[in-house]
């Protein structure tokens, strides 16, 4: 495929310019020592995400994009460089960087409400019962589970469980929302539904979000900027693409946008080379 170039490429979303930096990865490196020498997954990666920006990271499987996300979350040891969230250096995991995991990871022995409540209890220990319950119900309503709060998590379908996963993450009121291929395990219909749900909840809160995905359409539809990672080892950011589509976005409008296929082609072209 021909390299596509349009006038928009390389531009910055102007509304983001006056936003402060929320997430900053400086010289971020991940090394796994092996008997045959070090295996370098990520080398000296630089990434800056502004407040209220939604970025998606795409790349081939095994390129280290999930490693990057788990290091930001504090779930994976940082070998070199540092991650800063709101000017604080990340040392461990915490609810200020909520994660939506690939598998919904709900506690199956708890109800839908309890699954959200367990996080809310941690973040708002001094709130009254009613306040905490309000927070949980608000987000569960928003993801379309307002009437299923008393169901056991184990009794829900995978897609419904991931809705709870989204509600649980937002209910923590995090500074950064981390999404690790959140819809990777779902069928394409459910995936579309959940993208809409996610976008709608996100649009109200505008929480800085980083999503790892290998779905090109998903990355364009959801993100303000798509980060393309080169294949590992020594993975780094190969290119990035600003998606200037207006928000709130509607799927049909995005798909019909005259530049949509240019962006799509650009990303596909990167992934195929």
């Amino acid at each position: 495929m021909e390299q596509v170039t349009t006038k928009d490429f390389g531009q910055v979303n102007t509304w983001l310019l006056d936003q402060p930096t929320m997430l900053h990865c400086k010289d971020l490196t991940k090394v796994y020592p092996t008997p045959n020498g070090d295996y370098v997954v990520l080398e000296s990666l630089q990434l800056e995400v502004r407040k209220s920006e939604f970025i998606s990271i795409i790349g081939h499987s095994g390129c280290g994009k999930s490693t990057l996300l788990t290091m930001i979350a504090g779930l994976n040891v940082i070998s070199g460089g540092k991650v800063m969230v709101d000017d604080d250096t990340v040392t461990e995991s915490g609810p200020d960087r909520a994660v939506v995991f690939q598998s919904p990871s709900l506690l199956p022995w708890l109800t839908v409400l309890q699954n959200v409540m367990i996080g809310v209890n941690q973040v708002f220990p001094h709130a009254t019962r009613a306040q905490k319950s309000d927070i949980c119900h608000y987000y569960l309503d928003k993801v379309g589970l307002g009437s299923d709060t008393k169901k056991r998590a184990a009794d829900l379908s995978q897609g419904m469980q991931q809705r709870v996963g989204i509600a649980r993450a937002f209910a923590l009121k995090p500074k950064v929302l981390l999404l690790d291929e959140p819809f990777g395990m779902l069928d394409s219909l459910t995936r579309g539904e959940l993208q809409d749900v996610l976008l709608e909840v996100w649009h109200r809160e505008k929480i800085t979000a980083v999503m790892v995905t290998h779905d090109v359409d998903e990355s364009i539809f959801l993100a303000d900027r798509v980060i393309m990672m080169t294949s590992g080892p020594y993975a780094k950011i190969g290119d990035e693409l600003v998606i200037p589509f207006e928000r709130p976005r509607r799927r049909a409008e995005v798909l019909e946008h005259p530049e949509y296929y240019d962006y799509r082609g650009y990303l596909m072209n990167f992934l195929n080379h």
């Binding site: 979350a73 995991s93 909520a98 990871s105 506690l107 022995w109 367990i118 996080g119």
Partner: protein, 388 residues
């Protein structure tokens, strides 16, 4: 959704059937809950559901097992008769060798008459065992009557002794077979509780820490296969020194502590396995939410390892019951084990039959204990989901 749509229609056509359907489902649920799932086809056939299929199921799930038991009884009967003949012939031959043909003939007649004095001492037949069971039950009733009579007799004395602050007079006669069973069950539950109290927390700690797990692994592997007999002697050595108070029932303490120590290993190993295998996703959730150690154990670790712990507890209670009989037998503490031993030493003409009664009772109680654990597990799982 679909059932909601269909239900009104069914109500219109056959309003009566709906009522029986609900009852049937409830009944099946109860039957399954108490671990008698094999009765399910019987319930279904009772309401006239798929008679052919359910009749086949009944044959498979109930008739065949009953047949196998009958077959066992028949084999037992003929086996016992064969052994009886072998033993009788030996006796007759011995009489002939010692005292000649006349004595042999007398012995033969004596055996044929069923006289107790020359009855061959062999494996009792099923009918003898049944008779022994009846005898034991009547014996129990007689002892109960004696106890009641005794307590009526000493009621007045006891009242005055109580007023003076003296100890009450209690019945000290021989315990009945049923009393022995009760003592054994009490001991096994005490031992089981001890095992649970020791093994579950220790297992959780070991599951959480790889260091602890590797540190204690050898010790556990060495202690686990030790025979109950040796545990009993060890406990005896310790309890003898520690407990000097004569009012405490030393033999009861020794047997339940030994039972607990013998049977706790399965729970310990299973709990630590369950705790250490908590799903990585849940570990990550706990880390992101920054759950404290207590909350982590209560909200994630324990619920996750619950099935493992329960499997361990099930093994523990069956091991506890098995070693209890051996321990009672050795420790001479009251219970089924010492009943068996005493009957064996006693050598009365129905002793062998009584031993077999005890064997059947021991088997049945072991089976019931296992069912009890299964029911308890279901109960806890159900109540947990209902409460939430």
């Amino acid at each position: 959704m679909i059932s909601k749509v269909l239900q009104p229609a069914r109500e219109l056509v056959e309003p009566k059937e709906k009522v029986t359907l609900i009852n049937k489902d409830k009944l099946i649920k109860v039957v399954k809950f108490i671990g008698l799932g094999f009765l399910e086809p019987l319930v279904r056939i009772g309401v006239g559901e798929e008679p052919r299929k359910n009749a086949l199921l009944i044959v498979k799930s109930t008739v065949f097992p009953v047949c196998s038991i009958l077959l066992f009884l028949v084999l037992w009967h003929y086996g016992a008769a064969y052994l009886f003949n072998v033993e009788a012939n030996i006796k007759i031959e011995a009489a002939r060798a010692a005292q000649g043909e006349a004595a042999a003939l007398a012995m033969k007649e004596c055996i044929a008459s069923g006289d107790l004095s020359c009855k061959p001492n062999v494996l009792p037949s099923p009918s003898e065992v049944y008779e022994a069971a009846v005898t034991l039950w009547q014996d129990h009733l007689a002892i109960m009557a004696k106890k009641v009579a005794f307590s009526e007799k000493v009621a007045e004395t006891n009242a005055s002794r109580q007023a003076q602050g003296l100890e009450m007079i209690t019945y000290t006669g021989r315990p009945s077979f049923i009393d022995q069973i009760k003592t054994s069950i009490l001991t096994v539950f005490a031992g089981f509780l001890l095992a649970m109290v020791l093994a579950v927390p220790a297992g959780v700690l070991m599951g959480l820490s790889t260091t602890l797990r590797t540190s204690f692994n050898w010790l556990i592997q060495i202690l686990k296969p030790v025979s109950p007999v040796v545990w009993l002697l060890l406990v005896f050595m310790i309890v003898k020194t520690l407990i000097k108070d004569p009012s405490l029932d030393k033999s009861f303490i020794i047997s339940f502590v030994s039972v607990g120590l013998c049977s706790m290993w399965a729970t310990l190993v299973n709990t630590s396995l369950g705790v250490s295998s908590v799903d990585k996703d849940f570990v990550n959730v706990a880390r992101v939410l920054k759950l404290g150690i207590g909350k982590n154990i209560r909200k994630i670790v324990l619920p996750f390892s619950f099935p493992y712990i329960f499997t361990g507890l099930r093994i523990t209670i069956s091991v506890a019951w098995m070693v209890l009989i051996a321990i009672e037998l050795l420790a001479q503490s009251p219970g089924l084990g010492s009943f068996v031993w005493e009957e064996f030493q006693n050598g009365a003409n129905d002793s062998n039959a009584k031993i077999l009664v005890a064997m059947i009772v021991i088997g049945l109680i072991g089976f019931l204990l296992d069912r009890l654990m299964v029911m308890l597990q279901r109960l806890l799982v159900v109540s947990k989901s209902e409460a939430s």
